[in-house]
């Protein structure tokens, strides 16, 4: 049984438990930003794409990697931007509100 696999399992299990707790704490109010945010984070697959795009493993790998890089970048850049755009809008009641 290879070390990497095992280690990956440890990480996966711990992160899973952790995710459960972290997400549980997110109020319904912010569920849409949550979906957008996790989306941005999942853009981390970008790092995988970078390697196959620039790894010099021949044309096919490069092209696939290239497309992957575009997709992943769209996700992560777009994701963080739109999440921020949403979160900027959430405000508590200000005294000057019943104008």
């Amino acid at each position: 049984m290879s070390n990497e696999l095992l280690f990956g399992l440890y990480i996966f299990v711990l992160a899973g438990f952790l995710g459960h707790y972290v997400i549980e704490k997110v109020p319904p109010l912010l569920h849409t930003p949550l979906m957008a945010g996790t989306n941005a984070i999942s853009g981390i697959s970008l790092v995988g794409s970078l390697v196959s795009a620039g790894g010099g493993y021949g044309k096919l790998s490069a092209m696939l990697g290239f497309v992957a890089v575009i997709c992943a970048t769209i996700n992560t850049v777009g994701g963080f931007l739109i999440t921020d755009r949403m979160l900027r809008m959430f405000k508590k009641k200000r005294p000057s509100d019943a104008r």
Partner: protein, 465 residues
């Protein structure tokens, strides 16, 4: 640069990134820290990318550069100009991108690792490719249904579930075969194709309003795909991010099903909302006569007199982009001394928190918005309720008629209020395709027409008074 150093730089940068992502999600536990958290998440991403670019394996940068620039431009444009009402579509689309990216990386890895690929890496790659492609087409379908490009009504055919499930498991069997002998290239690609097909056929029979569940479920698949990539590339930040996404998607879809009091199976395989299921549906229906159709004047009269008002919001507000009109009206009423609260059902609209974002955009302070448990007892004590484009979430049938497909779904006790004003375009049924007794109750006024249009008329009249 020297391998020893880069050997340290990459894992460390990934560790930092992982921590940043966790902090980013923690931030979302309150609107106060959420923005900061999101920023930290972005920084983490930057760190990870820079760390990776220092990787000695990376030789050519031009493709990467072009890709990054193109992606940033597209992504940036998409997020700056998309209207908030289109958020569900936006999310669905980006899941598609995520799935595709994962799948392509998997294919390219498989391609260049070739025959000497270790077993468990092969397994991870296979899972990644299959889930990636499935997420890709599945999300595109969801996008189409939300956009209306594809009919929102469940498309069903003979044995659809049986065949879908069979295909799904066939793919997994193939995966096993490929793991046993990675040189079976044809099989590998067959599996990928199956992923694409299953993605399409599994989503087709699901109703448009159930897309949110589908989307979050695909979100967790995308997470799993990312995690598998992590296993394949032995890249821990991918595993962590994947696990976080996976749990998030799973939890959200569970919450939604609970909020609808429906099982996962029912959502995914029940073809819920297919007209076949609900004979009572269809325009107007025989019951048309009983509707108490009201004029703008009558409605404004009730609203103006109300000391306390609860506004219930639904998908219709998103369709007609009425959030700003809603806010204007409530401000006018507040100015006249009325006390206004907003009621948002966990599954109102077409994604969790959909209505909250729209209200936030219209500048409604979030401490005036209440969840169903918080506000459901107050309807009886309230002078007037304004229902803007909501239907299923205010259907008393969920409480009263055990036969109804939405029976048991927690709904707002709108029917208990002294007076109810409902804004919708027609007396048609909502997504669930069932008649709504609320609309034919004596103390309910139906003001038909596009919500935004109607609201504007309300506002002008009230301002005139």
């Amino acid at each position: 640069m020297n391998p020893i150093l880069s050997q340290a730089i990459i894992p460390v940068s990934y560790l930092i990134a992982s921590v940043c992502f966790i902090i980013a999600l923690q931030g979302l536990s309150s609107p106060k820290h959420a923005r900061m958290g999101n920023l930290i998440g972005a920084v983490g991403m930057l760190v990870a990318v820079v760390g990776t670019l220092l990787h000695e394996e990376i030789l050519t940068f031009q493709w990467i550069g072009i890709g990054l620039i193109l992606g940033s431009l597209i992504g940036g444009a998409m997020s700056i100009w998309i209207p908030m009402t289109k958020m569900p579509e936006r999310i669905a689309l980006s899941h598609a991108f995520g799935g595709l990216a994962a799948a392509l990386v998997g294919v390219s890895e498989y391609h260049h690792l070739g025959a000497q690929i270790p077993r468990f890496i092969m397994g991870a790659l296979g899972l990644e490719v299959f889930l990636g492609f499935l997420t890709f087409t599945g999300s595109l379908m969801a996008f189409g249904k939300l956009q209306g490009v594809i009919t929102g009504a469940p498309v069903t055919w003979k044995f659809q579930n049986a065949s879908n499930i069979t295909m799904f498991f066939t793919a997994l069997v193939i995966l096993v075969l490929v793991v046993m002998d990675p040189t079976r290239i044809a099989l590998f690609y067959t599996m990928g194709v199956l992923g694409l097909v299953v993605g399409v056929l599994a989503v087709l029979p699901i109703g448009g309003a159930d897309m949110p569940v589908v989307i979050s479920l695909l979100n967790s698949y995308a997470g799993l795909a990312a995690a598998s990539t992590g296993f394949a590339l032995n890249n821990y930040v991918l595993i962590i991010a994947g696990a976080l996404d996976g749990t998030s998607g799973l939890l959200l879809s569970l919450k939604m099903s609970q909020a609808m009091n429906r099982s996962f199976a029912n959502v995914l395989f029940g073809a819920f909302g297919s007209t076949g299921e609900a004979p009572a549906a269809g325009p107007g229906g025989a019951a048309g006569a009983h509707y108490n159709l009201a004029s703008v004047e009558d409605a404004v009269g009730v609203l103006g007199a109300a000391q306390s008002l609860i506004v219930v919001l639904g998908y219709g507000m998103a369709v007609s982009q009425a959030q700003h009109a809603v806010r204007e009206l409530t401000q006018a009423l507040e100015a006249k001394g009325a006390q206004v609260k907003y009621a948002v059902h966990p599954v109102a609209g077409r994604m969790p928190g959909h209505m909250n974002v729209l209200l936030a955009e219209a500048d409604v302070p979030y401490d005036q918005i209440f969840d169903i448990e918080e506000i459901n007892d107050e309807f009886a004590r309230t002078d007037a309720v304004l229902v803007v484009g909501a239907n299923d979430v205010v259907n008393p049938a969920a409480k009263t008629s055990p036969g109804s497909p939405i029976y048991g779904m927690p709904v707002f006790n709108v029917d208990e209020a002294k007076a109810v004003i409902v804004l919708k375009r027609s007396v048609n049924t909502g997504f669930a395709g069932i008649e709504n007794d609320l609309f034919i109750r004596p103390n309910t006024m139906m003001v038909l027409g596009d919500a935004k249009k109607t609201l504007r008329e309300f506002i002008t009249q009230i301002k005139e008074e």
